[in-house]
Symmetry: C2
């Protein structure tokens, strides 16, 4: 049974957790309607507002990221509402699938690895009326960050609701949700916050909160969740251990400071990209839109995905992610969000160097790790 | 911040957990698409079938009991499908509210504390056609177990689908779901299994599995969850720590033996009822249908609910539940399911005796605790 966990954990979610976040879970049963859990929920509400950079309404749901997206979509849209889904990767495609289930959804497709082009969005919105627009702020599948400010400007000019998957963005990328006019922004616990998987949070604009309806949702009734949290309560039994860990991870974030974490994530991403260049490898996405929370890297010719990740894991106790769907076998992905450190990245690239060298890829040995070390020393 | 947890934890869910179940959660991040988690899911599938006493399809969802009910209802019914909800307490009422959101639901009401009367169900089903019938096997709010075999007989005679809330029943009450013809049976992790809250499981009949549709659900798409689990996978990011704890709690159950746990739960319930009589108190529900997993007890005249539970908690570090909705202030409730032991019950009734005596209720001191001790010694 369970081998010891990998030493270097660089998946783009779930991500490495602080031991104090893990320890917060292993607590005897708690009455989730009692004063102690009310205090937990009170902390969580305040700290979740801090995480999102908003004083408006937030909800924390006992369900993973997709549950948060569904709560936002079913709370804001009805079956006949027209929604435009901007699709440029696996997660925005899934978001489109979700929207097709609950509304009248149209996909506007972009090449995977290319950013959403706001001009195309404008053209689509001029051609047809949409009540809402959705996209993935950070497309984890392609390691790409969409130009959220520019997209928002277009959507707001057409007065549509803007529902954003920020699952691997919130807490890792600079966020101006109120300024940009985002109506619903969703995050997942196991990404930039570095809490365990299983919870999602949603932050709402004033307008979005005012237009929430409860006609087509029950467990994920967003209005019920928002209103309950404002009274330190939950509409249904919450996943108590995950809430305890979520609170601890929020405290951990607050101690570091949101701005500091975002800046540190950006520096780590720069270091990762320098290391990738040093390995004579290329990013998968358009480099102008390379994500700061996850790097997606093209395999050089002759490097087999399964073998590469097997050697990394078995010989170097290092875990990275492969590509998904049409990108399977073509890329690998490294998460550098949450509490990931220069040391983690150094260890990861040391393992990647050794593995690529063993598999016959040619590059200057030591340069990738040195790129990260130099960056860390300059801090 | 957090006071030490109560010493005697007798809520009707969440319930006391084994330290090994708690410890299973505090594990570093795990790749939920890797071989180790596949093994977790494989164990969970087999052991969940054991828990339900079925070899048919099961699903485990990252969402609490209500999520399991919603998955069953949205997977089996459509908006225009007529469903009859048998209502005799808070949780069956909530189940009706859920069904009204997703189908054409009619409630058949019974007095809270009375059992569902199968004759009334037969009359309702003769008067109108229903595609499905729902009820709470064990009404946690009133401490009552509905006559599931008799209700099932009526429903099956009309060839309707039978969707059962077994949240505080499965793993604690004798279960013959295949023989009775239950089409969908839902349990919650934090009840008779004594795992943390946040997961639910659904077991399906062959007929139910064959008629699952995916038109109106996404995160809780039951077919997707069932089919994924059969391949040791999940359709969306699972709440990994809760799955690890769930598996550990299932192992713990298997070690005790399902039949043994059910028999032990019945003996504990007998002991609790003897203790309640010794305190000169009365059960709230019709005693012919008193639940083996939770006892609901009427307050004697002059005992204030809030004061009673405050003294219990603060002076005796013992937690029990109050009544809900229309029963608030009128009853208190004790859970005796999961890994609850005679020792727990003894300690709980010792505290209850002391508290009632202090508050002026008259009874033979020591008799309640003695009733439990005697029962335990006879085992």
């Amino acid at each position: 049974m369970p081998a010891t966990p990998p030493d270097v954990f660089l998946l783009p979610g779930p991500v490495k957790m602080d031991p104090r976040v893990l320890a917060a879970m292993a607590r005897p049963a708690m009455n989730h309607r009692g004063p102690e859990f009310k205090e937990v929920l009170s902390d969580i509400r305040t700290l979740t507002q801090y995480l999102f950079g908003t004083r408006r309404e937030v909800a924390v749901l006992s369900g993973s990221g997709t549950a948060g997206l569904e709560a936002a979509v079913t709370g804001l849209l009805r079956k006949d509402d027209r929604v435009l889904n901007l699709v440029n990767g696996k997660f925005s495609e899934r978001f489109h699938d979700l929207c097709r289930t609950f509304a009248a959804a149209t996909a506007l497709q972009f090449e995977w690895g290319s950013a959403v082009n706001p001009e195309n969005v404008a053209a689509a919105m001029e051609a047809e009326d949409f009540r809402a627009v959705t996209f993935c702020w950070n497309e984890t599948s392609t390691g790409l960050t969409n130009p959220i400010a520019d997209i928002s400007k277009v959507v707001k000019a057409h007065d549509a609701l803007l529902i954003v998957d920020g699952i691997t963005a919130v807490g890792g990328l600079e966020n101006r949700m109120e300024q940009w006019g985002i109506d619903a922004l969703v995050m997942g616990s196991q990404k930039c916050l570095a809490a365990p998987p299983g919870l999602s949070a949603v932050a709402l604009s004033e307008r979005a909160y005012a237009s929430l309806h409860s006609d087509t949702s029950f467990y994920l009734n967003l209005k019920a969740h928002v209103d309950a949290l404002a009274k330190q309560d939950t509409p249904f039994t919450p996943a108590v251990p995950l809430f305890l860990a979520f609170r601890e991870a929020l405290h951990r974030l607050k101690e570091e400071g949101l701005e500091n974490r975002i800046a540190r994530t950006a520096r780590l991403a720069d270091a990762a990209r320098a290391a990738i260049r040093a390995l004579d490898l290329e990013l998968f996405p358009d480099p102008r839109f390379a994500s700061n929370t996850v790097s997606a890297i093209r395999y050089p010719a002759g490097i087999d995905d399964a073998m590469f990740r097997k050697v990394l894991l078995e010989s170097h106790r290092t875990i990275v992610a492969g590509g998904q769907d049409r990108l399977k076998g073509r890329i690998f992905r490294i998460g550098h969000m949450g509490i990931c450190s220069s040391k983690d990245l150094e260890a990861g690239f040391r393992a990647i160097e050794a593995t690529l060298a063993k598999m016959g890829h040619r590059f200057e040995r030591g340069a990738a790790v040195a790129a990260i070390t130099n960056q860390a020393e300059n801090e």
